[in-house]
């Protein structure tokens, strides 16, 4: 790490806002040296609660996040917010508008709001988000909130960076609750029916409840996000420890008889007035203690790191292969060869990869030999 980056890191750890902002920029830009910076950050992380908030456009995410931050501040906790907005796939430009809604905490530097755009990078946003969370964590933020529009796989990956995910459902969604079943349902740890003073709120709550019941009965849906737990086979060992936690969720269906599972509670809020925000915070905290008590948290964190390692390696190998592709004559030429019928993509992939695979197996042999020699 060069001296400038070291200074920047020291400044961040000392609590300089500018340094935090600059490091997040480096992470976003993948500026030279950002990797060393992030790897240095790791030693200082692990103290923040990370909350993901997602929902359809106009569901009231930014307003709710604003109220959430305000309430945390009243409790004396510092807050970091990462607000993600889409960018144009054509120009790369973006208008990042979430900040406008965050007026309650404005002027309070202990709420650090950072807008990020989905720069159309190949799955890179979830890595960048995770790294930005690390930076805020190392800075000493108590609560970190990631806000994103829940539209696709990319966003699902992003909110997975969080320990607890809240999904906002506006009232009158009607049939759109049905569409929520795919994808969004599985990631929700807490459901929030925002704008609860509007017509149709009760019905939306009811629909969600029904959906959760069906999910619980057939063994997917509400329980689906604990797939990790079940797969690892650790679920059974923690039976009973968390019973009290999941029982006193006031919003949750009361027949959550499988004590090992977290039944996502449904919270009603009116974000513009701040109604229900306290209950929401209680549910977030309840979920956090459920995670810790049941041992799911460790598993979740482990999975997240496994995914991070994989993603990093994939990016690196990808870069190596791009070089290889370049030396094989550039992808355009190869594509042209396919177009004119000289060859096909599979043959090319094979040709490009064979030398790499050969190198790897040679390296393996050397490693094995080294082991034998010693």
């Amino acid at each position: 790490m060069n001296a400038d980056d070291q200074d920047l890191l020291d400044a961040l750890l000392e609590g300089h806002h500018r340094a935090l902002a600059r490091i997040i920029s480096k992470i976003e830009n993948r500026a030279p040296g950002y990797r060393d910076l992030v790897s240095e950050l790791y030693a200082h992380t692990g103290n923040a609660d990370v909350i993901g908030i997602t929902g359809s456009p106009g569901a009231g995410k930014s307003t709710l996040v604003d109220k959430l931050a305000e309430t945390y501040r009243e409790r004396g906790e510092t807050v970091g917010i990462i607000a993600i907005d889409p960018s144009s796939p054509f120009t790369g430009g973006a208008v990042l508008g979430d900040r406008i809604r965050m007026a309650s905490t404005i002027g309070d530097m202990d709420v650090f709001v950072r807008s990020m755009s989905a720069r159309g990078t190949l799955g890179g946003l979830s890595t960048a988000t995770a790294d930005a969370v690390k930076a805020m964590d190392a800075f000493g933020k108590d609560k970190i909130i990631i806000e994103t529009v829940g539209a696709g796989q990319n966003e699902v990956d992003i909110v997975r960076t969080a320990d607890t995910v809240a999904v906002l459902v506006p009232p009158g969604s009607g049939d759109s609750v049905q569409t929520l079943k795919a994808g969004i349902l599985e990631i929700a740890d807490v459901f929030v029916v925002n704008k609860a003073d509007r017509d149709g709120a009760d019905r939306t709550v009811q629909e969600l409840q029904e959906m959760l019941h069906i999910g619980a009965d057939v063994g997917f849906g509400g329980a689906g996000h604990h797939g990790a737990d079940a797969m690892a086979g650790t679920g059974a060992s923690s039976d009973g420890n968390n019973g009290s936690d999941s029982d006193n969720d006031n919003g949750s269906p009361d027949d959550a008889n499988d004590l090992d599972d977290w039944m996502p509670p449904i919270v009603e809020t009116v974000a513009t007035k701040g109604t229900g925000v306290d209950t929401f915070i209680d549910e977030l905290a309840a979920h956090k203690s459920f995670l810790v008590d049941s041992g799911t948290h460790a598993e979740k964190v482990r999975q997240r790191y496994a995914e991070e390692i994989r993603t990093l390696l994939r990016e690196d190998v990808n870069a190596l292969l791009e070089d290889e592709l370049e030396s094989a004559g550039g992808v355009d030429e190869l594509a042209e060869a396919v177009r004119t019928g000289e060859t096909d993509p599979y043959a090319i992939a094979n040709d490009v990869l064979t030398p790499v695979a050969d190198c790897l197996s040679e390296a393996d042999i050397e490693a094995v030999q080294a082991e034998f020699d010693s």
């Binding site: 993948r30 430009g93 002027g107």
Partner: protein, 152 residues
């Protein structure tokens, strides 16, 4: 009407907005008691279409709030739109705030709106890089940002 451009501090025009993930970040700000934001909207939209990342502050912000946003978002460019005539009190407050967080040096500060000719030198002295009055073409503004956005 012509816009004045300060060429002294801008040494290395660079190709921004392309290359490895680098994108010019701008904060478009409305300060004080000034409810006219059509211009700010048009600029935001034009910047977006030029490939910049734009954060719009919303109306009626205090100088402190603008400083907070500019620092946290680590913007390359801060465009302040003022049509109320209060530029000579508001702009210096923002510049002082940026100074406090060490952000004054490498933020390109632009002012747009109705700024009388006689007030301009003072704003330039405060550190404003350029002032764009009514009638400035959008292309001109974008070109100026591309050429002068700070290299970091």
């Amino acid at each position: 009407m012509s816009s004045e451009q300060d060429e002294e501090s801008q040494s290395q025009p660079q190709s921004h907005g392309q290359g490895e993930g680098r994108s010019i970040r701008c904060l478009v700000a409305k300060v004080g008691l000034d409810g006219h934001d059509r211009g700010a909207h048009v600029i935001s939209r034009a910047f977006r279409d030029a490939g910049f990342e734009v954060i719009y502050s919303g109306l009626h912000k205090a100088p402190d709030e603008i400083v907070q946003a500019a620092v946290q978002e680590d913007v390359d460019v801060l465009g302040i739109s003022i049509l109320s005539g209060a530029h000579d009190t508001l702009v210096p407050k923002i510049m002082d705030g940026l100074e406090e967080y060490g952000a004054r040096e490498d933020t390109l500060v632009l002012v747009g709106g109705v700024i009388p000719e006689e007030d301009r030198p003072e704003l330039k002295e405060e550190g404003v890089a350029a002032i764009f009055g009514p009638g400035t073409s959008i292309e001109e503004t974008i070109e100026f940002v591309r050429e002068n956005a700070p290299e970091r």
